[in-house]
């Protein structure tokens, strides 16, 4: 049903909570000097948002705010994922040495604002709302990247991010303007009807518009060829923010990408497959993008010495694996993508967390810091990082394997043999660089004068939780699968 503004608020509680919390933190920060507990407020807020999503009234779908926002199970899935990402990011920030040095109030307020933007990205039903939410997330991310006052790396990363983001989103809006011109409306459902109308549309123009829009969405998801910014920004930004970008904004990017490309400009057939616009070869384009993303991500990561940069390329490659589900044009593929994104969230957050722990203790992010880590008191983080990296490789009994298994199963079901083979070979190659830190930690001898690693209980608990989740969900994945299966419902209700 099509709700007015006030009626929609009923379904909008988590977002409202986030807004009020952001404002509250800004006000409190003005009044009080010492903002130590502001982090706790942010943590409670994001956790509260997660709870509220759970508590929301079950409904098979609704338009909110006069068709600007759509509330359906697909949106719920991503809001849960993003809320989890926010919880992890804030939890890490409270334990991070870097964040402790910058202004707490501004930091946490902007993080919550960014979370809000991601929520909106996941549920936007209108080109305008898509652009607006994307810009909110981008702008907040530029600031968060550059939040470390006099740190050259962070400043430079923020500048690059800003310029790249600006150009990419500008290109996107230009593309959207053409699409608006063709379809005559900003609303996804209207665009869909216009594109599939009997009179037909100029395919070349639509293709150009899609390519330009893809620049914006591709940049957000950091898929090749719009990934150039990612390695530098991931390395420059403080680790909690890098994590937030890697798991939060990337998930939101996938949500928007899926909502735009699937319910937006293609049609669901009866058998669970999707058909794209005739003459507009965006599926083939994205297939090529997916293959290059995987291969380039893995190849470039082979010789990285800085762990953050290695994880940056690894997250590009992981985006490639998730795209594998996306390009299959079938519900099975999308379900596999959702499972993969959830798996990616757990293992990537864990990996960045351990990198942060080591960075906190040694202040270094290169492989040297990890040499012989297991033998000088760092056995637990070493084992945890090993679990996360093996999960990223796709070794069984971890959630990473379940994710990869589903994506390959879907690819083979849809007869994309070459794609499955390339994916498989990529995961074998990825073993080499995922194993290099593990080899350094376990097989290498600690450098002389390397002191043992001290881990605060705060980070220890999160690490334990994520490691347990990686193994437990790897051994018993049905809950994740059921959750993904349930949430593949795009509301395009007529009323």
């Amino acid at each position: 049903m099509d709700l007015g503004n006030f009626a929609s608020l009923h379904f909008f509680c988590p977002e409202l909570l986030l807004t009020t919390a952001t404002l509250l933190i800004v006000l409190v920060d003005l009044v009080i000097i010492d903002g130590a507990y502001l982090g706790a407020v942010a943590l409670i807020t994001s956790a509260g948002a997660l709870l509220l999503i759970g508590v929301e009234p079950a409904s098979e779908g609704a338009w909110l705010f006069h068709r600007m926002i759509v509330y359906d199970s697909f949106a719920v899935f991503f809001r849960v994922l993003i809320a989890l990402a926010a919880v992890v990011a804030v939890w890490m920030s409270m334990g991070s040495a870097e964040v402790r040095r910058c202004a707490q109030g501004e930091y946490y307020a902007i993080v919550l604002a960014s979370t809000l933007g991601m929520f909106l990205m996941a549920e936007s039903a209108n080109l305008l709302m898509a652009y607006l939410s994307l810009e909110i997330v981008s702008l907040t991310s530029y600031v968060l990247t550059g939040i470390l006052r006099n740190n050259r790396r962070s400043q430079e990363a923020a500048l690059k991010y800003l310029i790249y983001g600006g150009v990419a989103s500008g290109t996107m809006i230009y593309g959207m303007s053409w699409l608006y011109g063709i379809a005559g409306s900003l609303d996804f459902v209207a665009i869909n009807h216009a594109l599939f109308a009997a009179s037909g549309v100029p395919p070349l123009t639509v293709f150009i518009a899609l390519v330009l829009i893809l620049a914006g969405l591709g940049y957000k998801v950091a898929s090749v060829p719009f990934h150039m910014w990612a390695p530098d920004v991931y390395e420059g930004a403080p680790i909690p923010i890098t994590t937030f970008l890697a798991i939060g904004s990337k998930a939101a990017g996938f949500a928007l990408l899926t909502r735009f490309f699937y319910p937006g400009i293609s049609r669901l057939d009866v058998g669970g497959g999707w058909t794209a616009l005739s003459g507009v070869e965006w599926p083939q384009l994205l297939l090529v993008v997916c293959i290059i993303t995987m291969t380039l991500g893995n190849l470039a990561a082979l010789q990285q010495d800085n762990l953050k940069r290695l994880l940056a390329y690894s997250s590009i490659a992981q985006a490639g694996y998730a795209l594998m589900g996306f390009v299959l044009l079938s519900n099975d593929g999308l379900r596999a993508m959702l499972v993969y994104l959830f798996a990616y969230y757990v293992m990537d957050a864990g990996a960045f967390l351990v990198v942060m722990i080591v960075a906190n203790a040694t202040g270094r992010e290169d492989m040297g810091a990890y040499r012989g880590l297991a033998w000088r008191g760092g056995a637990v983080p070493a084992i945890a990082l090993a679990i996360f990296l093996l999960s990223l490789t796709g070794i069984p009994a971890t959630i990473g394997f379940i994710g990869k298994f589903y994506v390959f199963a879907a690819a083979i079901r849809e007869r994309f043999y070459v794609l499955a083979l390339i994916g498989i070979l990529n995961s074998v190659v990825s073993l080499y660089y995922y194993m290099s830190p593990v080899r350094a930690m376990f097989l290498g001898q600690p450098e002389e004068g390397a002191q043992p690693i001290a881990i605060g209980a705060w980070n220890y608990s999160l690490m334990g939780l994520l490691a347990f989740a990686t193994i437990a969900l790897g051994l018993y994945p049905p809950p994740v699968i059921a959750f993904a299966a349930r949430s593949l419902h795009f509301f395009a209700g007529t009323s």
Binding site: L159, K160, I163, Y164, V167, A168, T171, F207, I208, V211, L212, A215, P225, F226, M228, W229, P231, D232, E281, L285, T295, L296, N298, L299, A300, A301, L302, Q303, Q304, L425, V428, V429, Y432
Partner: protein, 686 residues
């Protein structure tokens, strides 16, 4: 063959030596340390002699049975039952195997007793008796095995024991090399043996009776008559030929005889027991046991006879020039085995087995006599440093001389009855060339045997003074054994008198039930049975022996002819050939061993470098993306070996350089990407 008497006594003949070996191996060292060597010798000899007693008892039990029902079966347990191959661990006793058992346990027992004195001052005394007992066990399994695989277990078991006993004094590498050589050459023979069994099993399976139990094979053998075999030969011929090739390995016939002379590196009782009396005769026993198969393959019979004759003659010629007392006897053994193979090769199986028995007696006596001489001279084995020992060692001399007369075939000694029977049978079955070889061989045998006697016991002592001082007669145990064997060598011959003297041949009659397959009877009947011709040929062979004896007497006892001048005869080529053992050892090493070692090293290098390099290449498929870039610099720098892992890493490195860090570069990335996409689409559309 049909309804054997089931018994559970035969198993003890086999198990007692095994028990002896087990106790010696496991507890021998401690027993010897605490209670001295008496316990070991009591245990070792006791086990074999007890087996001998049981064997005697079963012999009488068998004689009590009707002649055509003298078969006993002792079935222990199911060995394995897989895909039509149902075999039990079972021991089959029939006249042939009881004869062999009696030889093994009888002569073996005597040699055990002899060893108690001979090895008396050797530290690992217990290990020697352990291996001797294990050898007796393995030989008994070979002889009593109910199926071909159990026979093969014994077959290789004796190979193992001969390896261990040849290399008994393992501290000196020459002995261990001899041991290795023996085992590996035997194994080459065993390869043919095993291939024959596979072919036989396949052949029998094809005609519907897949079995390897010997008596069942005998029952279904006629069905194989027409079957096609391999290498273009009929099945029966192929199987028997391969089995014979296996026998040449074990019984040291040409071409696989090279290991026996080197086997003399072992202690003398070992040479006597294994390389004279029992193991080397295994080949003859096998051919006799499978007579029903061999008789169906005349071609193989001819091959067996010819190889036997050739070996007999050539080995004898080599024996003539040897100077080591044991090597002479070794070549003599090879030669006598040649005779036995001729016997079974022409179809006179009984004669072959009879010669096997008599040979066991006199050859064991000769070896033990030589042992006593070596023992007396403190390990000296070179005949040129001996002489005039008959005064100091009369008993050894007398027994040695009696055995020499036996081996040369001088009546009434055993050799005359057995060897001449074979020589006659050779002619009787129409093989004139083979007869000639055997006849000449008999002469040469006489020459080298008497040469040995004269060089050792006659003339003047050529050894060192303290050797001369140290010489003493054989101690009591050795003396008793020598006498016993000498008596057997003289009396043994009467068990089977040649036809022209008297129709008295109980030995042959005793073995008839074994050789009663109609093919065997038909082959045996085809020979001549002319009494007068037989007496003529007996005279002829006696003539050859006399000639040989006279020649040896003239050169070595009376010194009328000088051995040296004889060796230059015809430029010394014959001498060099004979002394150098026809260069067969060197030929094998050059033709087979050296190239194989080179090939093995090449394989290892190939495996380490090429396979590793190529497989790494296939394993790390990441080359696809960066083929050109990676190929160029890494190939030049590292070459093929680590080419692939370098190419992968280079690919990563190259992609990193794209990330220049300049923002303008990145923005170009967007523009370039959009342009490329549109370009590709335009091209694809057209």
């Amino acid at each position: 063959m049909e309804h054997p008497v089931t018994t559970d006594l035969v198993r003890w003949i086999v198990l007692l030596p095994l028990l002896g070996a087990a106790i010696n191996f496991l507890f021998g060292a401690t027993l010897q340390k605490r209670f001295g060597k008496r316990v070991i010798s009591f245990l070792g000899c006791g086990a074999v002699l007890a087996a001998f007693a049981i064997a005697l008892y079963t012999l009488f039990a068998m004689l009590a049975l009707a002649p055509d029902r003298r078969f006993m079966l002792d079935d222990l347990w199911r060995w394995f039952d897989v895909g039509g191959l149902k075999l039990d661990i079972a021991f089959w006793l029939d006249p042939l195997s009881i004869v062999m058992v009696l030889i093994i346990t009888g002569v073996g027992g005597l040699i055990h007793i002899y060893s108690t004195d001979y090895m008396h001052d050797d530290a690992s005394y217990w290990r020697f008796f352990g291996w001797l007992n294990l050898f007796t066990f393995a030989m008994l399994v070979l002889v009593l095995g109910d199926n071909l695989w159990l026979m093969f277990v014994g077959w290789e078991g004796v190979g193992l024991c001969s390896f261990a006993l040849i290399g008994f004094w393992y501290t000196d590498l020459v002995n261990t090399n001899a041991g290795n050589k023996a085992f590996i050459v035997n194994r080459i023979g065993d390869l043919a043996f095993v291939v024959a069994i596979y072919a036989l099993f396949a052949g029998l399976g094809a005609v519907g009776h897949p079995t390897l139990v010997i008596r069942e094979v005998a029952r279904y053998a006629p069905a194989l008559a027409g079957a096609r075999g391999y290498l273009g030969l009929p099945m029966v011929t192929f199987v028997t030929l391969m089995l014979f090739l296996g026998a040449t390995g074990k019984s040291a016939q040409i071409p696989l005889h090279v290991w026996l002379p080197d086997a003399m590196a072992g202690p003398t009782p070992v040479s006597a027991l294994i390389h004279a009396a029992t193991m080397v005769t295994a080949g003859v026993y096998m051919v006799a046991r499978l007579n029903f198969l061999y008789s169906m393959a005349p071609a193989t019979m001819l091959v067996v006879a010819t190889v036997g004759a050739l070996t007999a003659f050539l080995a004898a010629t080599v024996g003539v020039t040897q100077t080591d007392i044991k090597r002479v006897l070794a070549y003599s053994t090879i030669s006598q085995l040649g005779y036995m193979f001729v016997g079974v090769g022409v179809g006179a199986y009984a004669a072959g087995v009879f010669h096997l028995m008599t040979h066991a007696f006199f050859k064991a006596c000769l070896f033990l006599g030589a042992g006593s001489v070596i023992h007396a001279l403190g390990g000296e084995q070179d005949m040129r440093k001996m002489g005039a020992l008959r005064h100091k060692m009369p008993l050894t001399f007398v027994t040695f001389f009696a055995a020499t007369l036996a081996i040369c075939g001088v009546p009434p000694f055993a050799g005359f009855m057995s060897k001449d029977e074979i020589i006659w049978r050779a002619y009787a079955h129409g093989h004139f060339v083979i007869w000639a070889l055997l006849w000449a061989g008999a002469g040469v045998t006489a020459f080298y045997m008497f040469r040995q006697v004269y060089m050792t016991f006659f003339g003047d002592f050529r050894g060192t003074p303290e050797q001369d001082h140290h010489v003493h007669e054989a101690p009591s145990a050795m003396a008793f054994v020598l006498v016993a064997l000498a008596i057997l060598s003289t009396v043994g011959g009467f068990a089977m008198l040649p036809g022209f003297i008297a129709p008295f041949a109980p030995f042959e009659r005793f073995l008839d039930p074994v050789f009663n397959s109609d093919a065997t009877r038909q082959v045996f009947a085809s020979g001549l049975h002319d009494r007068s011709l037989e007496t003529l040929f007996a005279g002829l062979s006696l003539l050859a022996v006399a000639a040989g004896w006279l020649l040896a007497d003239l050169t070595y006892r009376q010194g009328v002819l000088s051995a040296a001048r004889m060796s230059e005869f015809a430029g010394g080529v014959f001498y060099r050939l004979s002394f150098g053992k026809y260069r067969i050892d060197e030929f094998y090493r050059a033709a087979f061993l050296a190239p194989y070692l080179k090939l093995a090293n090449a394989a290892a290098w190939f495996d380490g470098h090429i396979i590793d390099g190529v497989v790494n290449f296939a394993a790390s498929m990441t080359v696809v993306g960066a083929w050109l870039a990676g190929l160029f610099d890494s190939y030049i720098v590292d070459g093929l070996v680590n080419f692939t892992s370098k190419a992968t890493l280079a690919a990563g490195g190259r992609l990193r350089r794209l990330q220049t860090g300049s923002i303008n570069g990145y923005l170009y990335g967007i523009l370039a990407a959009v342009m490329v996409i549109l370009l590709v689409r335009a091209i694809a559309r057209v």
